[in-house]
């Protein structure tokens, strides 16, 4: 009897829904469509979308599930990118070394700054992550041997055990898509795992979590490191996609854009982060074609989405679907 009632509410738990599978399916087909048109342009654009989607996933993981609003996540992207660039400047271009290195360095930065940031809450947390982000930005700008403010061009894309795995734009595209799917799968698994339950519980009621015996700070720090590593992965891919790295990757505007992507797509949904990254970057691309001041159009659009579509684009789609199936 008891197990019967226990299992009932759980069956209705979140499954990977068809829309998400369709989304990855469309992304997998893009290169075939691109072959008919401006291939380099389209592949480059969607690669960029997916790279930022990984960073947006990390931000959604922290904000949407951990309640930790980070305003400095571009720093992790920059650290991942700079790891590739600096290693490249010293002749190390193999990703068997640079990828783990990018993850370790960004994870370590997350561990150290998280130890300080997570002592604070709410607005103070936002401000201190912003401060660390700006620190990273200015440090990158002062790296004179590696281009300083001007940035640095990569000698070549990363190789894997000497193989040119990123040799074509298409190969890079699929590597990025694979990374995005893996990141999405990882975030999903973690969010619903034992750890994730503690992480989500800490957002709900940290006092309650402490009184049942959880050291909230430690769990949040682990979550922060996971998000930091994802940011680093995004940076690693960004450096390879653009073959160029500059401090601008770490500016606070970039961190703000990641939050906008997540809000735009739908906070606390994970796939919303991917949708948001796509919507933001594609709108930017499209609107910028009309006018230099595209943000004048994008700004009100964002306000409308946040005001009238709680849950972002993903929430909007869900409510439209609900309305259609009701009739």
């Amino acid at each position: 009897m008891s197990t019967l009632t226990a299992s009932k509410p759980l069956r209705a738990g979140p499954r990977i829904d068809l829309a998400v599978i369709a989304m990855f399916g469309v992304l997998a087909l893009v290169p075939f469509a691109a072959a008919f048109g401006a291939e380099t342009y389209l592949l480059g654009l969607v690669t960029r979308v997916m790279v930022f989607a990984i960073a947006a996933l990390a931000v959604d993981f922290l904000c949407g599930f951990g309640g930790l609003v980070t305003f400095g996540h571009a720093a992790f992207v920059g650290i991942g990118a700079y790891t590739v660039a600096i290693a490249g400047a010293h002749g190390v271009t193999d990703m068997a070394i640079t990828l783990p290195l990018a993850l370790i360095v960004s994870g370590l930065f997350a561990y150290l700054t998280g130890t300080i940031c997570l002592r604070t809450k709410s607005v103070y947390f936002i401000m201190i992550t912003l401060a660390f982000g700006q620190m990273a930005y200015f440090i990158a700008g002062s790296l004179a041997p590696y281009g300083g403010d001007d940035g640095i061009t990569l000698p070549a894309r990363s190789t894997l055990f000497g193989l040119q795995v990123f040799g074509s734009d298409r190969a890079l595209y699929y590597a990025v898509l694979g990374s995005l799917i893996a990141s999405y799968g990882l975030c999903r698994a973690v969010v619903y795992s034992r750890f994730g339950r503690v992480f989500r519980g800490a957002r709900e009621n940290p006092t309650r979590m402490a009184t049942i015996g959880f050291d909230v700070f430690r769990y949040q720090r682990v979550g922060y490191v996971i998000a930091g590593c994802l940011g680093g992965l995004s940076g690693f891919l960004l450096a390879n996609a653009t073959e160029f790295v500059s401090p601008a990757y770490m500016s606070w505007q970039r961190s703000g854009e990641l939050i906008i992507m997540v809000l735009f797509g739908g906070l606390g949904t994970l796939h919303g982060a991917i949708v948001g990254a796509a919507a933001y970057l594609l709108l930017e691309e499209w609107l910028a074609g009309f006018t230099e001041n595209w943000k004048l159009i994008f700004g009100p659009l964002l306000v409308i989405v946040v005001l009238y579509a709680r849950g972002g684009l993903v929430g909007l789609a869900a409510s439209i679907k609900a309305r259609l199936t009701r009739d």
């Binding site: 008891s2 197990t3 009632t5 226990a6 299992s7 009932k8 509410p9 759980l10 738990g13 698994a189 973690v190 619903y192 795992s193 034992r194 750890f195 994730g196 339950r197 503690v198 989500r200 519980g201 709900e204 009621n205 006092t207 309650r208 979590m209 402490a210 009184t211 049942i212 015996g213 959880f214 050291d215 909230v216 769990y219 682990v222």
Partner: protein
Amino acid sequence: MTDAVLLIENLRKSFGGLVVTDGVTLEIGPGELHAVIGPNGAGKTTLIHQISGTLTPDDGRILLNGTDIMPLPPHERAKLGLARSFQITSVLPRFSALENVALAVQARGGSSYKFFGRAASEAALNDEAMAALAEVSLDHRAGVIAAHLSHGEKRALELAIALALQPKLLLLDEPMAGTGPEESERIVTVLQRLKGRFAMLLVEHDMNAVFALADRISVLTYGRVLASGEPHQVRNDRAVTEAYLGEELE
């Protein structure tokens, strides 16, 4: 040494010039239900906060099963077997009732640094959580989001969370606060059923509940223990009657 589950010695705490805990000494034996009563502002909740670790006393000692827990943060005290309910209901509002309790089971047993596998599908956690919910007669509401439970059900849920921790000592901060007479009665019944399984410290304004449940009662006024003893002793203590009970027990 005594075999007291909780031993508080000469505890002191003041906020600026206001003394809220003034040399409180208290002992709770195994399975004993010790009620602390007193007028508003007597320092009852402050006392609970100090035992659970959310407030740091200025002076004194707090021993849990002989271990000095004063230097420990709240989560480590919880690991030693200290559970508490809050005066203002404190649950995880967006989690289901079952998940609220399953998280407590998870806190007690096994690692929470597992990053794969759905925690909500772990039968071992859920079965134990269901058992705890059944003890407070909330098993039929297991799948309901905590925010959607009635006030009385939330209070019962807090008890189930505490039960799932299998505590050595349970601190109850006004478990009947804000509940209607029917729901109060239900909580009294639950507490009566739990009595004896572990030590409890009960802070409560409902005198009928206190006298129905308590093995011992301490009366707190202005942060000081005015009297302490078995219910009939306290009831007949003149100082207590004058200070506090008078109008309620006439």
